[in-house]
């Protein structure tokens, strides 16, 4: 009798493993970026019915009439102007080998911000504009810039400026690795981390428009369209890398290195779900 019981138990265990413990992936579990983007945009437009879709790129300035007036005044003498001028000069100055940034990008680097980041099928990874700029420098014998300092902010400010008004047009090619990168970016966005147990979504999905101390939290929709930004709190310009790493440290998490895969994937996800919204960078924030 006992061997028979063992046999039945083993058969049940096998059946549980084969059919129960590992359920087949359902269609609901499969990433669907287009549906995600629709749901993402609908969430914000439902939450803020008075804000036009394209105005979400103005972050906290779109949330409140008083702040919007402040922003309009600020835009007459925008604090990012110095960075923009520097970026334009840097962009047009040839490297020591005589080549320039224009040689590294389609359309000589003008009006192309809306296509970044993209998934590079050769590399099998996401390539951001900041990464592409440093790769351009290194390919031409120049040292890379810090991803979180003024030079990178200036270059990306200029490239964003030449793309203003163009809608984000992030593509996910028919490559499972691209879909995986998108999915990982989404997972990073919603995953709580740091001692404060915050995810990106905690502030930028659950609480946009609310105050965290003196700051008004920006909505996640359109949040990268305005990058890089001049932040009064920083007293200077900040790149996307700077924004991501400081968000992590503000939640008492140790930031990853700028342009680590997680941040590249996060930028891919966040940009994709803002497809259709115009580039507004460089921006200014309180």
């Amino acid at each position: 009798m006992r061997p028979a019981i063992h046999l039945v138990s083993a058969a049940l265990a096998f059946a549980a493993l084969a059919f129960g413990a590992v359920p087949p992936a359902s269609a609901a579990d499969m990433p669907n970026p287009a549906a995600d983007a629709r749901a993402f945009q609908k969430y914000f437009t439902d939450k803020f019915p008075k804000v036009k879709l394209e105005d979400f790129v103005n972050g906290p300035y779109a949330m409140d009439e008083d702040m919007h007036r402040q922003w309009e005044e600020k835009e007459q003498f925008p604090p990012y102007d110095f960075s923009l001028d520097l970026g334009k000069e840097m962009f047009s100055t040839p490297f020591k080998n005589g080549k320039s940034y224009a040689d590294c990008f389609p359309n000589k680097g003008i009006g192309i911000r809306q296509g970044y980041p993209y998934f590079d099928e050769k590399e099998g990874k996401v390539v951001t504009l900041e990464l592409a700029l440093n790769r351009c420098r290194e390919a031409n014998g120049e040292a890379p810039f810090s991803y979180v300092k003024d030079e990178m902010a200036a270059l990306t400010a200029y490239m964003a400026f030449t793309s203003r008004g163009k809608p984000f047009d992030i593509k996910i090619p028919n490559d499972p690795r691209a879909l995986q990168a998108y999915q990982k970016g989404k997972e990073y966005f919603y995953t709580r981390r740091g001692q404060l147990n915050f995810s990106c979504a905690t502030c930028h999905v659950q609480e946009p428009g609310e105050r965290i101390r003196a700051e008004v939290l920006a909505p996640a929709l359109g949040i990268l369209n305005a990058m890089p930004i001049y932040r009064s709190e920083w007293g200077g310009m900040g790149t996307i890398s700077r924004r991501f790493t400081t968000c992590n440290s503000q939640t008492r998490g140790v930031p990853l290195d700028p342009q680590d895969d997680e941040y590249r994937d996060l930028e891919y996800y966040l940009s994709y779900v803002s497809n259709g919204l115009p580039i507004s960078g460089p921006g200014a924030r309180p």
Binding site: D36, A39, F40, Y43, K186, E187, Y190, T191, R192, R193, G194, Q195, N197, S199, A201, T202, V205, Q206, S249, R252, G253, V254, L256, E262
Partner: protein, 106 residues
Amino acid sequence: MSISRISALSLGSALLIVCATAALAAGSEADFKAAYAAAEAANKEAGLLRNQWTTTEAALAAAQKAADRGDFDQAIAASKEAEALAKASIFQSTSEKQAWKALEIR
């Protein structure tokens, strides 16, 4: 009991106390090293999960600083705090593998 015998006993007791104290101090340093190693190991595991906390690092640094000045009680306490923080960050990473989905906009 003669005075000389009492003195010998006192001296013996004093020596015992000195030896015991020295042994306790040595034990404290060893305890610190063990506590610090456990905290470092947990923080390393959190690093593999890409989720270290700045507060863990601060507690580890405070532990090392206390040990450097010979305050092993404080060093052990800070090491244990660091280990607890690191284990909390590991728990967070593990639970978030599924829990993140609850926040997702659908």
